[in-house]
Amino acid sequence: MNGAAGTPDAAARDRIDRRQLVELLRVYLRISLRRSTRGFARGQGSGVQGAAQALVFYAVFGVLIGIVAFDHPDVFTYALFMQSATLFAVMSATSFVATDVLLNVEESEVLAARPISARTLLAAKAANLAAFGLGIATAINFAPAFFGLAARGAKPWFPLAHWLASVLLAVLCAGAIVLLYSVLMRTVPRRGFERVAIFAQIVLTFGIIASAQILPRVLPDLERATARGALGWIAVLPVTWFAALDEALGGSHGDASMAALAVGGCALTVGVFVAAVGRLAPAFGAGLQALAEERARPPAPARAVGAGAARLEPLLRLWMRDPVERSSFRLAAAYMVRDREIMMRLWPGIAAFFVLPLLSLIGGPVARGEYFAIAPVALAFAATISLEILESSSHHAAADLFVIAPLASTMPLVHGARKAVLTCVVLPLALVLGGITLLVEHGDPSLLPALVPGLLLAFPCSLLPATIARYAPLSAPVRRGLQETRGLVLGISGLSLMIPVAFAARWAERHGRFVAFLAVELVVVVVLHLVFTLLARRRSRIAPLEEE
C-alpha cells in the first residue's frame, strides 16, 4: 500500500506473509461479490447478481465460439481458436478492472497504516486479478471443453486438459498486467504517472484487439500448416503455446515440438509472475507511495481549472435552459477530464470503440463496407458505456445531494450527464476517427459519412442506462471484480439495437442509397429518443425511501 510498501529497500527484505495474503484475498472476494447499499444507489441489485450475469454472458459467448468443434477440426486448431477467444476476453476484462484492483484509492485509505509488505499486497492483488481472469476463463471454456471431445484426436480427458491450459492462460494475463504496471511504476516519473497508466492501458487495449484480428485471418491456412508440421510465425504467439499444452495433454498428435511449446507456455507464466510479484514488488510499493504523495499534494488553484469551462457558459445556456441540467453537465464533464479514478476507467474503457473502426481500414477496399458497419456501432457504444462508467464513483456518497436538493426527478441530471458524454466523448471520438481516416485514406473523404449514423444513434443510446434503472451521475459505488464488467455486458447486449443500424448503413452505402438511409435513421432515432425518454422518466422519480 502507499505507505504499507515503505521504502523499496525495506519492502525488499519482506517476504510474502501467507496469512495476510489469504485474508486480503478473502476480503477482495467478499467485496467483489457484494454491492454497497449506502447512498443514492441503494437497493439496485446485488453484487452476486451482477457477477452471475457477467459469468452467464461469458458462458454464452464461449458456447457460441465453441460450436466450431462440431466442424471436427484437429485438437490443436480447436484449442488455438478457443485459447485466442479466452485470451481476448480475459485480457480485455482484466485490463478493464486493473486500475481499480491495483491502484484503488479507497483501499489505500484503509490499508496504508497496516503492516503489510509491498510484496504481500502485490501478491494479493495479482492473485485477485488471476482469480478474476480464472472465473471468466472457466465460464467461457466450460461448455467448449466438452465440445472439444468432438475435435479430431481428442482424448477422453481433453476437458480437463483444456481447462488446465485456459487456467494457466488466465494466470498469464493477470501476471502480464501486473508486470506492465510494475514496470511503469518503476520507470515513469511520479508526476503524471496516472496519465501514463491511462495511456498504457489504452495501448494495451489496442494491442489486444489488434491481436484478436490476427486469428481469423490465419485460420484458413492453419490446418494445412499443422498438417505439414510447420507452424511458422504462429509458433511465437503465446496463445499457441497454450494450445500446444492442450494438444500435449489432451490430444493424440502431440510431438516433441508441441511439448516444447507447452513447456514454454508454463515457463512463461511462472516467469512473468516471478518477475511481477518477486522482482518488481519493491518498485510497485514505491510507486504506490508516490501516488499517495500525488494525492496528498494540494490541488491546483480552482481558477486555473475552471477558466475554460467559464468561457463555454453562454453556449451551455443556449443548449440547456434548465440550470440543474447545466450543473449536471458541468459535474459530469469535470469528472471525465479531471478525476483520476473516472479517467482511468473511462478512457481505456472506450478505447476499443476507437480501435475497431481503424482496424477495419487495414483490410483495403473490401473493408470499406466493414467501416460503414463498425463506425456507427462504435460511436453509439461509446455513448452507452461512458454513461455506465460515469454512474459510479468513489465519491458516490456525495450523490445524497440529489436527494437533499429539491429535485422531483433525476431527468435533468440524466440529460446533463448524457450531453456531457456526447460533447466530451462522442464528438471528439468522431472527430479524431475522421481525422485518422482521412490520413489513412490519403485525403479521400468518401468514408467520413459513415460517422454520421453513429453520431445520430449516440443520442438515444446515451439514454439506455437510464432506462434500466434510476440514473444519476457519480451516484453508485464503484463496482468491483466481475460486477465491473456489467458495463461491457450491458453494452454488448445493446448490440441488438445497433447491429441492424450497422447492417443497414453498410447495405445503403453499397447500393448508393446512403442519404435515404440517413433520412430513415433520423426518423428512427427521433422515435427511439422519445421512447427511451419516456422509459427513463418512469424510473427517474426521486421519492423518500420507505426503508434504509
Partner: protein, 256 residues
C-alpha cells in the same frame, strides 16, 4: 516514545511540513493542532510510515520510520481522518480482517472484537449482520477506532477521532484514551475541537503553515500568551484577521 528531528515534507515546490523537531515521551497525550492545511495529517502520515519524508528523521519506539516502516506499523494504531473502511464487509468481518493483518490468533481477535463492541455499545448482531455501508457515521467511527486499538498498540495516532460520535460515546472515548495513556501508551491527538484537546492533552503542539508555532502544556501556553482559553491562543497564533469583524461583515453581506 516519538522523536522527530528536522522532519520536512515537500510536494514538488510546495512545502507542506517544515523542519519539525519534537519529542513525545512514553505515556503522554500530545495534541497536534493547526488550521486546515497546516500539515498535521501529513505529519501523522510520515510518523506512521505511510509517507516518506523529504528530509529529517522520525523515530517511533526507537525505530527509524523511514528505514523500517513495517516494524513501526506493527506497533502503532492509526485512526485516519477519512474514517475509511471496506464498506461491503460487516463490522465483524472488517475487524477480524484487521486483526489477521496484525497476526492476532482468531479466538483472541473474536474476544477482543466482542469487548470493543461492548465498550462502544455495538451489539454483536449488528456487527455480524450488517455491512458497514449501512452503519451510521458514529457507528462506523466506533469500528474505525476499534480497528486502530484491536492489536493493543503502544503508540496511537488519532486524527479527528470524535467525528460522528454521540456525546456518550465521545465521553467513553475520552476516558479510554486517558486510561490508555496512564497504562503507558503514547498518544498523538489531532483535532479541531479545542476544548476537548484542552481537557484531554497534557501537551499541545500547534502547527501553522508546516512549522511549529507553539509547543507546551496548555497552562504554559495560556500564561505565555495571556489568553484565557486554548481557542484564543490558537486563534492568536494561526488566524490572520479579526474573526468577529470578519463574521459581522460576512453576515451583513449575506443579508444583502
Amino acid at each position: 516514545m516519538i522523536r522527530v528531528t528536522g522532519l520536512t515534507k515537500r510536494f514538488g515546490d510546495q512545502l507542506a511540513v517544515n523542519d519539525l523537531t519534537f519529542e513525545i515521551p512514553t505515556g503522554q497525550i500530545a495534541g497536534l493542532l493547526g488550521p486546515n492545511g497546516a500539515g498535521k495529517t501529513t505529519t501523522v502520515r510520515m510518523l506512521s510510515g505511510q509517507l516518506a519524508p523529504s528530509s529529517g528523521r522520525a523515530e517511533v519506539l526507537g525505530i527509524d520510520v523511514e528505514r523500517d516502516p513495517l516494524a513501526v506499523k506493527r506497533q502503532i494504531g492509526v485512526v485516519p481522518e477519512s474514517g475509511a473502511v471496506f464498506e461491503s464487509l460487516t463490522g465483524w468481518e472488517y475487524l477480524a480482517f484487521v486483526a489477521a493483518l496484525y497476526e492476532l490468533p482468531e479466538d483472541e481477535s473474536g474476544d477482543r472484537i466482542r469487548r470493543f463492541g461492548d465498550f462502544f455499545d455495538l451489539d454483536e448482531e449488528t456487527l455480524r449482520g450488517k455491512p458497514l455501508a449501512a452503519y451510521s457515521k458514529g457507528m462506523r467511527q466506533k469500528v474505525v477506532i476499534a480497528a486502530a486499538l484491536l492489536h493493543n498498540p503502544k503508540v496511537i495516532f488519532f486524527d479527528e477521532p470524535l467525528n460522528g460520535l454521540d456525546a456518550n460515546a465521545a465521553l467513553s472515548f475520552k476516558t479510554l484514551i486517558t486510561t490508555l495513556a496512564r497504562e503507558g501508551r503514547t498518544i498523538v491527538y489531532c483535532s479541531h475541537i479545542l476544548d476537548v484537546v484542552e481537557r484531554v492533552c497534557e501537551r499541545v503542539i500547534i502547527v501553522h503553515r508546516g512549522s511549529i508555532v507553539a509547543d507546551g502544556p496548555v497552562p504554559q501556553l495560556l500564561a505565555q500568551t495571556g489568553e484565557p482559553t486554548l481557542e484564543r491562543v490558537f486563534n492568536r497564533l494561526t488566524a490572520t484577521e479579526n474573526l468577529l469583524e470578519r463574521a459581522e461583515e460576512f453576515a451583513r453581506a449575506l443579508g444583502g
